[in-house]
Amino acid sequence: MNQNTTIERLPAPRKPGRWSIPGWGLLQGLAVTGRNMVESYYKKERMTTIQYPEERAPISPNFRNFPFLVYDTDPAADLRCTACSICEKECPPQCIYIVLDRDENGKSLKRPKVFDIDLSVCMNCGICAEVCPFDSIYMDGEYELSTDDRFGGLLFGLDRLAKSADYHMKLRPEQATEVMARRKAEEEKKAAAAAAKLAKAKADAEAKAKAAAEVKTEEKGESE
């Protein structure tokens, strides 16, 4: 029932035992259905049927389905996920499989080489999204995922899981704006800290140079 339907309240039934026209309640009932029959043709708030697949029901912003990975601009270079495997360990039915990408020396590249989620195992609990420290995995809202391949068709890899931050913004505007604001604040804080550190290092270097210059003049003064 959407917000536009009005509930009709029939008048309260008469107390029994008193005199009443037999069959009057029946006629009232017939009038209700008759009204439905006629008005459902032209009154939009009566006809609440949503004809799938031509129309779709609006989903609420809290609706969650399977997870997806967020990238800022470029799925290859800008993926927020660092393959820390916290979500893999926290997942209750163990449906995530992560392989860290290492370079030729064995050093970690802080991104996943393989990130698989088995949709037939995933129970849509959202724990992976709760524990991720890098704002990289969130719950998606897509429900038209039916396939005829029972095993391969339900194993989603990195290519299907990675979706842009714009998509996240469209899907869950409140959550996405909050995440973006937090990330921007952190970045600014980091930049400010880096600038402060740089300034401090510069000031230290200047002080050191000044102290060295003073020592040098003292030595020169003594030797004269």
Binding site: L30, M37, T48
Partner: protein
């Protein structure tokens, strides 16, 4: 029968009234022209007439299954089936294909022969009953002198076949359902027959075409002389209407086959085509009993207003049939199901006394001249007991306002 002896008589003229008889006339003319013997022409004529009736009503059954779903849907503020073709018009075809291709499951504890025989024995009486109803001035498949009696006699066969269906399935739900269905059918057949008896008394004949003929003419120039527009006819017609809903096992009397009560009652263990036969038997029975009600009380194929005789009579019959069936659908969409004890109580304590009262009312109406005086005399005879019954019902049987001790 050689092709050399082909000699065609001139084709008989087809009036608008006799249009539904066109297939029969055509076949008889063709066969007679080809020199077929008498008995062959006769038998072929009968077969084609029967095939016409069965074809029309089987097509009507298919259409009704769709119209019912869409009407029920609209009454419930939703759209009915609209995917299977433009406005769902191919939905009955899809249903038919589905029923035909389903696996036919017979339970292990079932009696094989009776289980097979029961659906057939439910469809056959309905088709037989359709044969005696006059659909038009010239269209009556089998003009029997005892047409009404024949109708009720084949209706009796339905009850035995419901028992067979219920018992032969060998499980609890069908047997319970069969018991309830039989008790309901037997209880509601009594008022049905008593109301029909009133009509027979007044019309003086058991032959259905003659009953329709006697309802011709108009009172005061514009009120049709149908049996419904007489005091006893009003009561008897209303009772007949309610009883026909009960006979056809339709809501609000569909306890024998209500899904939330008893799965599907006597039809539980049937699947595929046998279930389709049950379904068809039920709907054809609905057509038959509505047709009988129209014949007895609504004047059959008579036109409702004096000037409308140019419309063929069978169109009037089918228009009335559509109206009656629509009212059945409307009632189905509106009312909740009646419980078995409420059902029986209603039949035996309310309908049978009222039905019995229509008999003296009809007799008095006839013997006081069928005029204004008759109305004055018979209306109190019918109204006062009705008021008494209603008062008793309201006082003793109506639900009292519930008081909730803990919820307030």
């Amino acid at each position: 029968m050689s092709l050399l002896a082909v000699q065609f008589a001139p084709f008989p003229q087809i009036t608008r009234e006799a249009l539904p008889l066109l297939p029969k006339t055509l076949v008889e003319w063709l066969l007679a022209g080809f020199g077929a013997p008498e008995w062959l022409v006769l038998i072929a004529g009968f077969l084609v007439a029967a095939a016409t009736v069965v074809g029309v009503f089987a097509g009507g059954f298919a259409l009704l299954s769709l119209v019912e779903r869409k009407t029920l849907a609209r009454a419930q503020n939703r759209i009915g089936p609209n995917r299977a073709g433009w406005f769902g018009i191919l939905q009955p075809v899809a249903d038919g294909i589905k029923m035909l291709t389903k696996e036919d499951i017979v339970p292990a504890k079932a009696e094989k022969l009776l289980h097979l025989l029961a659906p057939i024995m439910i469809v056959v009486p309905s088709i037989l009953a359709l044969g005696v109803i006059p659909y038009g001035r010239e269209w009556i498949p089998v003009p029997l002198e005892l047409g009404l009696l024949f109708f009720f006699a084949v209706g009796a066969m339905t009850e035995v076949s419901i028992f067979m269906a219920g018992w032969a399935s060998g499980s609890k739900f069908p047997m319970l359902g069969a018991m309830r269905a039989i008790s309901q059918m037997v209880s509601y057949e009594l008022p049905l027959m008593i109301c029909a008896l009133g009509v027979v008394m007044v019309s003086g004949t058991l032959s259905l075409p003659d009953i329709v003929d006697k309802q011709g003419g108009f009172h005061l120039g514009f009120i049709p002389a149908w049996n419904l527009f007489t005091p006893w006819g009003l009561v008897a017609g209303l009772l007949f209407y309610v009883c026909s809903i009960a006979e056809a096992n339709r809501c609000p009397f569909d306890l024998p086959e209500g899904e939330s009560e008893i799965v599907a009652g006597h039809m539980t263990e049937y699947s595929g085509f046998k279930y389709a036969l049950f379904f068809m038997g039920e709907y054809l029975g609905l057509f038959a009993i509505s047709g009988l009600g129209i014949t007895l009380f609504l004047g059959g194929w008579q036109a409702p207003l004096p000037g409308l005789d140019f419309v063929p009579s069978w169109i009037w019959f089918f228009a009335k049939l559509c109206a009656v069936i629509f009212s059945f659908l409307w009632i189905r969409a509106t009312f909740p199901r009646v419980r078995i004890d409420q059902l029986m109580r209603f039949a035996w304590l309310c309908m049978i006394p009222m039905a019995l009262l229509t008999l003296p009312a009809a007799a008095i109406w006839h013997f006081t001249g069928r005029g204004f005086l008759s109305w004055v005399v018979t209306v109190p005879l019918l109204l006062i007991p009705w008021v008494i019954i209603t008062v008793i019902y309201n006082k003793r049987l109506a639900p009292t306002l519930r008081t909730y001790h803990f919820a307030e």
